[in-house]
């Protein structure tokens, strides 16, 4: 079944444009970005509503970036890094683990659902895991609904 032929059958979008969450995904250049590429090479289909931002290491993701993303209306933020001990810069991902854990506590104190921020390890050969992470996080955010900041404006 050719892809476009199938596409023709369900071309018309869902009845009214169902709300699609906006997700920002930070990927480290050496492992999770490579995992995302492998998902592409293996043509693993996944929802389109996430935007990848590349940093050299997951430890470069400043908590401030996460907060700014939420402030700009992101409904969910995913931070992906190398598996512990895989880090190209030896120990970067240990720091990331501690920073994100601390940040989630901070978010909770401000009444912002910490589940909107998720840390996950994806190695360069785990294309399928990248797909699974994106799909599951997308479902989770759909359940949590839009970022409360949006309806304040």
């Amino acid at each position: 079944m050719t892809s476009t032929q199938v596409h023709a059958e369900e071309a018309e979008p869902a009845a009214e444009e169902e709300w699609q969450p906006k997700i920002v995904t930070f990927c480290c250049n050496w492992c999770s970005y490579a995992g995302a590429d492998l998902a592409g090479v293996s043509r693993l289909q996944m929802p389109t509503n996430f935007r990848v931002i590349r940093t050299m290491c997951s430890a470069r993701v400043d908590p401030e970036f996460v907060l700014r993303a939420f402030a700009n209306g992101a409904d969910g933020v995913l931070v992906l890094g190398c598996h512990p001990a895989d880090c190209h810069y030896i120990g970067g991902n240990y720091r990331t683990r501690r920073r994100i854990a601390l940040l989630r506590v901070l978010l909770e104190q401000y009444g912002f659902n910490p589940d909107r921020l998720k840390l996950e390890w994806v190695s360069a050969s785990e294309g399928a895991k990248f797909q699974k992470t994106i799909k599951e996080f997308n479902e989770l955010i759909k359940e949590l609904g839009p970022n409360p900041i949006n309806d304040e404006e």
């Binding site: 892809s3 199938v6 596409h7 979008p13 906006k22 920002v24 250049n29 050496w30 492992c31 970005y33 490579a34 995302a36 590429d37 492998l38 998902a39 592409g40 090479v41 293996s42 043509r43 693993l44 289909q45 996944m46 389109t48 509503n49 935007r51 990848v52 931002i53 590349r54 940093t55 050299m56 290491c57 430890a59 470069r60 993701v61 400043d62 401030e64 970036f65 700014r68 993303a69 700009n72 992101a74 190398c82 598996h83 001990a85 895989d86 190209h88 810069y89 030896i90 120990g91 970067g92 720091r95 920073r99 190695s123 360069a124 050969s125 785990e126 294309g127 399928a128 895991k129 797909q131």
Partner: protein, 1002 residues
């Protein structure tokens, strides 16, 4: 003498060949990397994980493959075989036969459309036949070079792939080519062949579906394998509960002609057991060992964690007689025996740990190129020159010489470079090309004039994303003065077009929307640099791997997402600044700490290549531990070899020896070290640590109190001086090793003990010799010693892991009692000589030297290298290298190989005039930084130091050492006052991208 050719041919592009090629290219030699298959990577590319670090094999190997694939000094010749080598060392003419891939390598972009349309399938060798591949194929998605090839047997010539290929790269009639190449030296690394498990009929491989080989199991574990990483029984696809690993299949087995031990199977079986457990919780692996040979660095505690933490059941001293299959359930029942007690156990899946056979074309190469093979078909080498073949000018590395694991292979790969480089060092840099660039345009202060190039990538992007509408959208973005589309942006003609557009619209920023920056960023950076633009004024938007390919069924959303990704890239591009790669001078000299076998070998290798070396030795004499060794290796005594080495060191004009002197302090950084010694300060570009290790001085078993208790070295002395008179000799293994205090295995004691036992039996056959042991770890070809000892009547007694033998002095008569795991009862022997196999302990001085060099120690207090597998002789801190027993106990030939490896690695630094620092590094904004010091401990590379601000002394500030900074950005995120910036990923630039991502595009 004919002048030397500054080029080397490396035959075989597995991990060994790739490492050799990279080191040669970085040492200023042209490399011809010849590979039989269509893509490089060898067996390691098939592995899922590697021991002992459980790294994902592809993650750590892919960067090396990409680097060698793109290195300007390396010419990759795939699908080729060496036919003939003529001429003299230093000036060889090599004839190659390059088998046609029937695809034009220059034109093929690796997009894969041809494979999708090919109608015929065959078994996929890369996946050991557990999956199908098409007649036109590439080995695996990350293959380097990413070029498809046609397998003529399977192909029926229907012509579909040529029609579908947009790049018109398929050429059915493309002929084989004969090539002639001029090189100075040849390094052989054709790897090994897997033992054919079918030859062991009793295990039923090929007949019973659920009996698989270890390499097939490795593919099952891999995420890119047939079962996407889930372990399944090939018979019915269920997840196996109980998995059995049978060791020594085709190793330590005279019947099949492989009496040697393949050295790696115990470890990879343990690894596969651990990973299988991780993939399917509740899976219970059991391994049937004869001996658990976990002798390498960190191997022993990897084995211990497997047994205790991961619940891997280990049957020691076991022999599996046969495997039977239950026709109904397809389960397998193993009949095995330990000692004389046999029983059977049923398993869901059986993995045969197949050993290593010599490389398949080893026979052909040895005939054609005229070098000798040893009796097992591996390449014959000598203990004292482990990297030379019998033909001068042709060297060997990796498992073609003997079965060995990846860390040893990588060390040897660098070692072989030293041997080859020494032969042709005067021709260094004669054949390498240095790129000349046009002067760089100064764009500082200019308004951003951004050019956006959107790629179709054939139909890979264009088939889903509406490229023209993305181009139109790009034109509307602020700062964009040109936007256009190409069919293949990475093709050479499009590079020219990009340069023209840069000139035509005087662009000062370039954004390319196509595939992944990981593989293509350097290509475009190089192109804009050739047009005079600083390479860092460039940003990519990945609209193929991370958009069109993963949203194939939603073209409108994929097109909208592509517009967003372009908007984000343009947002960052506006704020990009030119970055300079600063140049640091390099001193063309080296310091070697430690004058033992390792130190002297390394020093000589560096000196032979014409670089001055300072050899610093603590003692008053050179030689280190070699002096204490009396037995013979082959027909030469280590002592005689040592004297020969010392002579060479003395005569060499490039080596200055500093005896009775210790390193006091080490300053500076890679290329500019300052080493303080009692004889004054030495400047050097690189340092090699070869401080060796000591024999463990036992305190147990009445050693020191009763002269009838000696160590193996002391026994060797008695044997040498023929003063041995004992009638009943007992040896105890693992004294001072593999216990709570020193959990590691010292690797060499088993072989030494067995060798000494043989010497005793030869000297007086009637003497009774008993060896009490946990596992006998005579790995590799040393397995012959174990068999010879058995034949000569030496008796071996295995005592349990936890309970060492005990000793009593009953009225002057020594009594040794040990629990015999076979007879399952205590056995008491009365020796008139007790020999303790004492292990090897690290130098006390390691702690202190490590602090000076700012290098880490492993938990067993040996020095910790940068990466156990792929950088075994480098320290994490650049410019400092490691060899010999200081790294881990090892045999003479392993020490020599590793020392040569360290020498090569050092030369890759000191042979350069300058070192370029990373462009993307941290930079301190001095006005804002108050020297709080949060960033200093965060840096793994110790690149940050807190210093006094020169402008006002009482204020502190952080200073970044550009030589050491790797640009990870950890410190930048940690800095509380945002004083620390990461060039290329500045906060402002990141904010711009985040805002652009969440801004609603039109």
């Amino acid at each position: 003498m004919a002048d030397k050719v500054g080029a080397v041919m490396v035959v075989g592009a597995g991990i060994s060949g790739v490492q050799t090629a990279l080191d040669l290219a970085d040492s200023g030699f042209k490399v011809y990397l010849v590979e039989k298959k269509a893509s490089i990577g060898g067996t390691m590319a098939q592995l899922d994980k590697t021991f002992p670090t459980n790294d994902c094999s592809m993650c750590i190997m892919a960067p090396k493959l990409v680097a060698v694939g793109r290195h300007q000094n390396v010419e990759l010749i795939t699908g080729a075989e060496v036919e003939l080598i003529q001429g003299l060392p230093g000036d060889f003419t090599v004839t190659l036969k390059k088998n046609t891939l029937r695809v034009n390598e220059e034109k093929c972009t690796g997009c894969g459309e041809c494979a999708i349309s090919c109608p015929v399938e065959t078994l996929d060798e890369y996946n050991q036949g557990m999956k199908k591949r098409k007649a036109i194929f590439v080995a695996y998605p990350q293959a380097v070079p990413l070029v498809f090839s046609i397998d003529k047997e399977t192909c029926i010539g229907c012509g579909i792939c040529a029609q579908e290929c947009i790049a018109k790269a398929v050429e059915y009639e493309r002929k084989d080519q004969a090539l002639e190449v001029q090189v100075g030296a040849v390094i052989l690394s054709p790897g090994f062949e897997e033992f054919d498990a079918r030859l062991k009929k009793e295990y039923g491989y090929g007949e019973f579906k659920n009996v698989v080989t270890s390499i097939e199991f490795e593919r099952m574990l891999s995420a890119t394998g047939p079962f996407f990483g889930t372990v399944m029984r090939p018979s019915d696809g269920d997840i196996p509960r109980k998995v059995a690993f049978i060791q020594c299949v085709g190793s330590r087995d005279e019947k099949v002609g492989n009496p040697y031990c393949s050295s790696v199977c115990c470890m990879y079986a343990i690894k596969e057991a651990i990973i299988a457990g991780e993939h399917s919780p509740g899976l219970k692996p059991s391994i049937f060992f004869m001996d658990v040979r976990a002798f390498g660095k960190e191997f022993e505690d990897y084995r211990a964690r497997a047994e205790n933490e991961y619940g891997v059941k280990m049957y020691r001293g076991s022999r599996v007689a046969s495997v039977e299959e239950d026709p109904e359930t397809k389960n397998l029942s193993l009949r095995y025996s330990i000692g004389d007690e046999t029983n059977t156990e049923e398993f869901d899946l059986v993995v045969l740990s197949v050993g290593m056979r010599p490389a398949e074309d080893g026979e052909r190469l040895s005939k054609k190129l005229g070098f000798k093979l040893n009796k097992y078909g591996f390449c014959e080498t000598d203990v004292y020159s482990p990297l030379n073949t019998s033909r001068p000018g042709i060297f060997v590395s990796g498992s073609f010489a003997a079965p060995k694991d990846i860390p040893t292979t990588v060390a040897e790969a660098s070692g072989a470079v030293a041997k080859a480089a020494a032969l042709i060092s005067e021709a260094r840099n004669t054949q390498v090309t240095v790129k000349e660039f046009v002067p760089e345009i100064d764009v500082v202060g200019q308004e951003p004039r951004i050019g956006v190039f959107v790629c179709h990538c054939g139909i890979n992007i264009g088939g889903t994303v509406n490229v023209p509408s993305v181009v139109e959208y790009a034109k509307t973005l602020q700062g964009v003065v040109y936007a256009g589309e190409n069919i293949f942006s990475c093709s050479s003609d499009t590079q020219e077009k990009v340069k023209e557009k840069i000139k035509e619209h005087s662009l000062n920023r370039v954004v390319v929307a196509s595939c992944t920056p990981r593989t293509h960023e350097p290509l475009f950076q190089n192109t804009i640099r050739e047009a005079g633009l600083n390479p860092y004024l460039f940003e990519m938007a990945n609209i193929r791997d991370q958009c069109s390919w993963i949203h194939m069924h939603e073209p409108e959303k994929a097109t909208k997402k592509s517009k967003d990704l372009v908007r984000m890239a343009v947002a960052k591009a506006r704020l990009l600044e030119p970055l300079k790669k600063s140049k640091l001078g390099v001193l063309h000299s080296a310091v070697v700490i430690g004058g033992g076998l390792a130190g002297m070998t390394a020093a000589l290798d560096i000196a032979d290549q014409g670089y001055p070396v300072h050899l610093i030795e603590k003692e008053k004499y050179l030689g280190g531990n070699l002096i204490k060794i009396h037995h013979k290796e082959g027909d030469r005594k280590p002592k005689d070899f040592m004297n020969e080495l010392v002579g060479k060191v003395r005569d060499s004009k490039n080596i200055t020896v500093h005896l009775d002197s210790e390193v006091k302090e080490v300053g500076g950084f890679v290329g500019n070290f300052k080493v303080k010694t009692p004889d004054g300060e030495i400047d050097a570009g690189a340092i090699i640590v070869a401080t060796g290790a000591n024999e463990y001085k036992p305190s147990e078993y009445l050693y020191g109190q009763d002269k009838r208790v000696v160590t193996q070295l002391e026994l060797e002395q008695q044997l040498d001086e023929k003063t041995l008179k004992a009638k009943q000799v007992v040896m105890i293994q693992c004294v001072g090793s593999r216990n709570e205090k020193t959990p590691y295995c010292s690797r060499i004691c088993c072989s030494n003990a067995v060798k000494n036992a043989i010497d005793i039996k030869k000297a007086s056959p009637t003497t009774g010799v008993y060896i009490l042991h946990k596992d006998i770890r005579t790995y590799g070809f040393r397995e012959d010693l174990y068999r010879e000892a058995g034949d000569l009547g030496v008796s071996f007694l295995r005592f349990p892991e936890g309970t060492m033998p005990t000793i009593e002095n009953k009225a002057g008569q020594l009594e040794v009692t040990a629990f015999d795991t076979v007879l399952k009862e205590d056995v008491m022997i009365r020796p008139d000589l007790l020999v303790l196999s004492a292990g090897i302990t690290p130098n006390e001085g390691n702690e202190e030297l490590a602090k000076m060099l700012k290098v880490p120690l492993s938990k067993d207090k040996f020095f910790l290298e940068a990466h156990m597998k792929l950088r075994p002789v480098d320290f994490a801190t650049e410019g400092i290298f490691l060899a010999g027993a200081a790294h881990w106990p090892k045999f003479i030939d392993e020490t020599i190989a590793q020392a040569s490896g360290a020498a090569t690695r050092a030369i890759t630094i000191i042979c350069k005039d300058f070192l370029e620092t990373e462009g993307i590094i941290a930079a301190v904004n001095e006005m804002v930084c108050n020297g709080c010091g949060v960033c200093e401990p965060v840096c793994e590379y110790k690149a940050i130091t807190i210093v006094k601000d020169p402008s006002n002394p009482d204020k502190l500030k952080a200073m970044v050492n550009e030589g050491l900074c790797k640009g990870c950005g950890t410190c930048v995120a940690a800095c509380p006052s945002a004083a620390m910036e990461q060039k290329g990923f500045k906060d402002q630039q990141m904010y711009a991208i985040i805002d652009a991502a969440l801004q609603e595009g039109k």
